[in-house]
Symmetry: C2
Subunit: 171 residues, 2 copies
């Protein structure tokens, strides 16, 4: 059974919706996804780090469309691990586990990894929206489209725009 | 630079002292290390899972002797990751990170991994007190002596009794 490593923020959890909401509350100006396309998150949202440190930021994130149904299917055919960068924001640790338990109850605690660097994980396929995680991975790499990676050279990764597309690719 | 993977419970954190204390509070009978030698933790302490779920259990654990000095030295010559099974006990996530920050401040958030299964990590050397973690590891494996692994066949792992001994072996 092949091992599939799935990122959380920007792949399962819709972090942009959260960022745009928090930013609108903070600045009084609601940015559109088009407006922040092609910009690193820290440029699009200068107060990014502040937002991430607020309790509830990760716990209340919406779910990326179709990720629940598709990951449930894949979980039956792959050895799935959800691997999330979390130790930079200690508050996020419990929030992320509770969020995953609520929205993806079929992912057990044995399948969750909370870390600071993904260089340490090994597997066959990785789905992530950040180049820094995909670039050093030894297996097949799927780049999940998010505004911050739009317009960039894909660096040899396979770009995917939706979970429906992932379902087709990994069937 | 070789990657060194270091377990937390039973290797950096003195979990047996905590278990014996909690057990004594609970039963009125203080067990000795000799008495529980060679027994799985869940047999030595039938209420093990209850103790692990109590807030503070991980946060207040004493530090294993000499682990701070030796790990600080090794951290300069190895790519160190502290990898801890934690997701089974969600309360432990923040406690473990705070504990590590207090006692091993030279280990950054980038070097911490909190997980449920260690099968997913790759590296050159692993120090752990549990066979289940060492058995599937591809690199060199050091079995840190703890009462629960006393008397067992070492299954090809190198048994170490102290951090001083680790320091000698990895120099």
């Amino acid at each position: 059974m092949k091992r599939l490593i799935v990122d959380m923020d920007g792949v399962l959890a819709d972090i942009y919706s959260q960022l745009i909401d928090r930013d609108a509350q903070n600045t009084g100006w609601r940015k559109s996804l088009t407006e922040v396309s092609g910009m690193p998150e820290s440029v699009a949202f200068p107060k990014l780090t502040d937002y991430l440190h607020v309790p509830g930021f990760f716990r209340e994130a919406p779910v990326v469309p179709e990720s629940q149904e598709v990951l449930r299917e894949l979980n039956a055919r792959y050895e799935v691990f959800v691997v999330s960068s979390a130790t930079e924001f200690p508050l996020s640790l419990a929030e992320k586990q509770a969020w995953l338990q609520e929205h993806f109850p079929f992912i057990t605690w044995q399948q969750l990894v909370l870390c600071g660097s993904k260089r340490i994980v090994k597997g066959d396929i990785m789905i992530d929206d950040h180049f820094k995680n995909l670039d050093g991975f030894e297996g097949r790499t799927l780049l999940f489209a998010q505004p911050h990676n739009q317009g960039a050279d894909d660096r040899g990764h396979e770009r995917v725009d939706s979970w429906r597309q992932i379902s087709t690719l990994l069937h």
